[in-house]
């Protein structure tokens, strides 16, 4: 049996034929392509989960000082405001966790690239912070990470997960699509519903440019992690409630690739366009440069 897949359609077919989850397809495919046992793979993913959980804790509990002093400690502010939050305390906690991990990353703390360091806050925030409400076990969350990985692989193969190639849609967009699909599956959605959630999440972020102030993974990257997490939860809820995506997942992924190719290089991580060239950003860049 070959559990390999390159598209969402192939992934869903494998799930339906074998009557297994996306996470299970991913685990079986990884087992057949690498020389490690199923247990070793689960343990390796468990290590990733523990690092994710720890990065949320550190980001929420300890002071974070980024390398330039541009950002830090916004996660704690949002968390403290959670009870009054207009989007509800649950969503506020999820978004604050995304800020937390992104701030830890910007402060040279330890994170798990998912799919990249710049977008590392989205997936842990969504999966870990939803686990309490649904009583997900750590083993459930490990499955969620395998499912997220499967969705990310399809996007990496057919489009891109690099801001330099595809803009922010390729980083936060991909992370959000991965988180949306994984949460949908963890909440009992079918593989088709999971990819519907992923499709909607990616559609919502399509076209977002990568325009880091002073070329650093701080502004606007950290707050976009929070947006990516909120978007993932919204799209998982829509898919679970029966909302469908007009454009199927694979077509959305191809559209993302083509938008990335049309995107001017100034808007792809080079800090030569968008927010990076606003007067304020240029002043910040000059200050950082002068200090060093």
């Amino acid at each position: 049996m070959n559990y390999g897949f390159s598209t969402g359609e192939e992934l869903i077919r494998l799930c339906e034929n074998e009557k297994i989850t996306i996470a299970e397809v991913m685990l079986r495919h990884e087992t057949e392509t690498c020389e490690r046992s199923r247990d070793e793979l689960v343990n390796e993913m468990f290590e990733n989960l523990m690092t994710m959980q720890e990065s949320i804790r550190i980001g929420l509990e300890e002071d974070q000082e980024t390398m330039t002093g541009l950002a830090g400690n916004n996660a704690e502010k949002l968390l403290a405001y959670a009870e009054k939050s207009n989007m509800g305390p649950d969503m506020a906690r999820i978004c604050s966790a995304a800020l937390a991990v992104a701030e830890v990353n910007a402060s040279m703390g330890k994170i798990v690239a998912a799919p990249t360091a710049g977008s590392s806050g989205v997936i842990p925030a969504v999966l870990v912070m939803c686990s309490e409400k649904h009583s997900f076990t750590d083993r459930d969350l490990v499955n969620g990470l395998f499912a997220a990985g499967a969705i990310g692989i399809i996007i990496a193969k057919n489009a891109s997960i690099s801001g330099a190639e595809g803009g922010c849609q390729a980083e936060i967009g991909t992370a959000s699509a991965m988180a949306a699909g994984a949460l949908t599956e963890l909440c009992g959605g079918t593989p088709a519903q999971a990819l519907t959630a992923s499709a909607m999440a990616l559609k919502n972020i399509l076209g977002l440019v990568c325009d880091p102030v002073a070329g650093l993974v701080e502004c606007p990257c950290i707050k976009r992690n929070a947006m990516g997490a909120a978007n993932a939860v919204l799209c998982a809820d829509m898919a679970l409630s029966g909302v469908t995506s007009i454009i199927p997942f694979d077509e959305v992924v191809n559209a993302m690739r083509s938008v990335g190719r049309m995107m001017n290089v100034d808007l792809r991580e080079t800090a030569k366009g968008g927010l990076a060239v606003t007067p304020t950003a240029l002043e910040i860049a000059k200050r950082i440069n002068d200090e060093n």
Partner: protein
């Protein structure tokens, strides 16, 4: 179409903020650390080029390269404090920024010297996602990624060295993944990089050094 592992997408675990400017920079430094081996490092001179020079400070690239030189890995939160560590270990170091055009925007040059006077100069590039390529060692153009255990042999370019080395490797049962030879000029300094599936035991490396004429140095990286 490249086949991805799930751990390419969920992973690696790393110290941020950037896989190319931080994790990749650490890995370039680690190659310099391994060339020196068990010896104490006396001094390290780091030059950053291109985007490493432009945005390196804010990404901690300088601290990351230095951390790697000190043997600190990509997952180790001490990366942020590598300057203090270098000072407490008595390692002299300097970081320079250069506007010289290099082939790849994320490039670092490292000159390391051990307390006994062994000296290496490497140029490495961070090609994305924490992956690196070493493109120069001691003035010789080379090419390897550090993804596999490797041995780097420095020797004088004379006939027979390659076959002697590979026959010893065959006796040890080592499976060679990639092997490349480089030389500065005919019959002059040469360098061989052999990447293997599993690390080659230290005693076998010593045996190659003792039994093959013309070998000046072998380093496991």
């Amino acid at each position: 179409m490249k086949d991805f592992s799930v751990f390419d997408i969920i992973g690696p675990r790393m110290v941020g903020p950037s896989s190319s400017h931080t994790a990749g920079a650490v890995r370039i430094g680690l190659i310099a650390h391994r060339l020196i081996g068990d010896e104490h490092i006396k001094s390290a001179d780091i030059t950053l080029y291109g985007s490493f020079a432009e945005t390196g400070i804010g990404h901690g690239t300088d601290r990351a390269v230095l951390a790697g030189i000190l043997g600190i890995g990509t997952e180790d939160p001490r990366i942020r404090y590598s300057v203090l560590l270098a000072q407490s270990e008595g390692v002299e170091f300097a970081v320079h920024k250069s506007d010289r055009e290099m082939n790849h925007p994320n490039t670092a040059r490292i000159v390391v010297e051990s307390v006994s006077g062994r000296k290496f100069e490497i140029v490495g590039t961070s090609v994305g996602g924490g992956n690196i390529e070493i493109v120069e060692i001691n003035g010789m153009e080379v090419s390897f990624t550090g993804d596999y255990p490797a041995i780097v042999l420095f020797y004088r370019d004379v006939p027979g060295v390659i076959s002697k080395v590979t026959s010893i490797l065959a006796e040890t049962g080592a499976n060679v993944a990639f092997m490349k030879v480089f030389r500065s000029a005919k019959r002059m300094d040469a360098c061989m990089v052999i990447e293997t599936d599993a690390p080659i035991p230290a005693n076998e490396i010593e045996r190659i050094k003792q039994s093959v004429d013309g070998i000046k140095e072998i380093c496991a990286v």
